[in-house]
Amino acid sequence: MAENTKSGEKYLMKGNEALAEAAIRAGCKCFFGYPITPQTELAAYMAKQMPKRGGVFLQAESELAAVNMLLGAASSGVRAMTSSSSPGISLKSEGISYMAGSDLPAVIINVQRGGPGLGSIQPSQSDYFQATHAMGHGDFNILVFAPNSVQEMADLAALAFDKADEYRIPAMILADGLLGQMMEPVSFHEIEPAHTDKSGWAANGHKNKRAHHIINSLYLDAPTLEKIVRERYERYAIIESREQRSESYMCEDAEILVVGYGAAARVAKSAVAQARAEGIKAGLFRPITLYPFPKDALREAAAGAKVLLDTELSMGQMIEDVKLAINCSKPVEFYGRTGGVVPTPGEILEKLRELNGGI
């Protein structure tokens, strides 16, 4: 399917496949995978395409090995990626922490499924806390992008590579089983991947022309480590000021502001449209970056709202960032389903009606 895609043409692809294709077009040279539902099509696409297009596909013996192969490839300065689903991402957290501590740019895909434990294989958003607040041990952040369509799976994959390189930071696409498995028309734009000079740090052989480069996250001297972490946080501050991304839908006069990302935002958008048809002044705010969380735009979108409704495919994780963004200045209600259950627009609409009655 979609062999040698042409720019601008429309293709019908699964989100998993579109993301893989976009990654290759963005210059991803190495992919290290391990099978897990519902991300497997991504690895399969890479297995088929990478050898034909000058790249490397390798099925690792475990998620631990895959993420550390990613660390190795990123260390040597090439664009590289790994993908998994929730249980596998937990295993990858070790390598992600090391990459964050070694300032390595790399892209990690999480096509989320229900948890905890082995959980289910149905779509979920219950790894929000993990991705945005605790993607491993230590003080660090990674960029987190949340697509909500097959097109965005492609577009954000390309952006993730650029931004990871720009800030020397791991970047994650936090998708879910719904986005990975569904097909929608997608087109690939002719984009020139941002070229970031990595010659100042990459461990790719010093050719006897420079001092040796060390990729490392170990600093036994505490004040030194503190200094390095603080410098990294200065970079995070720049990221937070420049890289917040979001989308607003009918927010201008909204009295009830629904907040949702990814698959949940799709369901919410249908509900908001139906609510509007009933005369309920609802709007939708959709974070596209989860780290950095688009708190500035949310604060603005929420300015005229009387109540917020956070909706997620989880027991409520992003809601804490929503409350923080508006300093708990307004009530933030929650509606979510978990375990792999996706709510219907009708369920959200019912909640909107209920909230509307209380305004």
Partner: protein
């Protein structure tokens, strides 16, 4: 106007493929669409289904709670989804695969002996496309020309010889 279609049957009956043909037709005509398969262990020899939404507007959830149209290729699939079909919706089912079907009084029912027809006309494995033909004829969703264009996109080049068989099956369904 959004149309939601659930197609369901045994794995191997070509139910995901029929859904893909509809999805490609929609794409060919510049419409918005989503195609969502059931996935996981149920794909291994059990029942399979896919949900196709077609619209002129952006589509929210690709998950269909109450379909406008149901295409059912076996009894278990029919049983699973018949109750969910919208009142006034349309149901297309392979009557050669099920007996004693309890039809919905508030939906338009189209019993097509698709598997028998496929066998009779030596279009083996074409029951899915026969049902699809019937669906296209009744709903007027897509022309044969669009279907042929769609087939060219969703059939791998090395299997392009199968396109005429599929078109034959669609034609047979339209006339059934």
């Amino acid at each position: 106007m959004e149309i939601s279609i659930i197609l369901a049957g045994f794995g191997g009956q070509g139910i995901l493929f029929a859904g893909k043909v509809l999805a490609y037709c929609a794409m060919e005509e510049g419409k918005k669409l989503t195609w969502l398969p059931s996935y996981g262990p149920e794909m291994r020899g059990g029942t399979a289904n896919c949900s196709v939404c077609i619209s002129d507007e952006d589509i929210g959830s690709p998950i269909i709670q109450n379909p406008d149209i149901l295409v059912a290729m076996n009894g278990p699939s029919y049983e699973k989804f018949i109750g969910a079909v919208k009142s006034g919706g349309k149901v297309f089912y392979d009557s050669s695969m099920m007996s004693g079907v309890e039809e919905r009084g508030d939906a338009d029912m189209y019993a097509v002996p698709a598997s028998d027809l496929a066998e009779k006309h030596e279009l083996y494995g074409g029951a899915n496309m026969i049902l699809l033909g019937k669906l296209l004829e009744i709903t007027g969703l897509f022309s044969d020309e669009t279907v042929e264009r769609a087939l060219k996109k969703c059939v791998a080049p090395k299997r392009a010889r199968l396109i005429p068989y599929n078109m034959q099956a669609v034609a047979l369904g339209r006339k059934s």
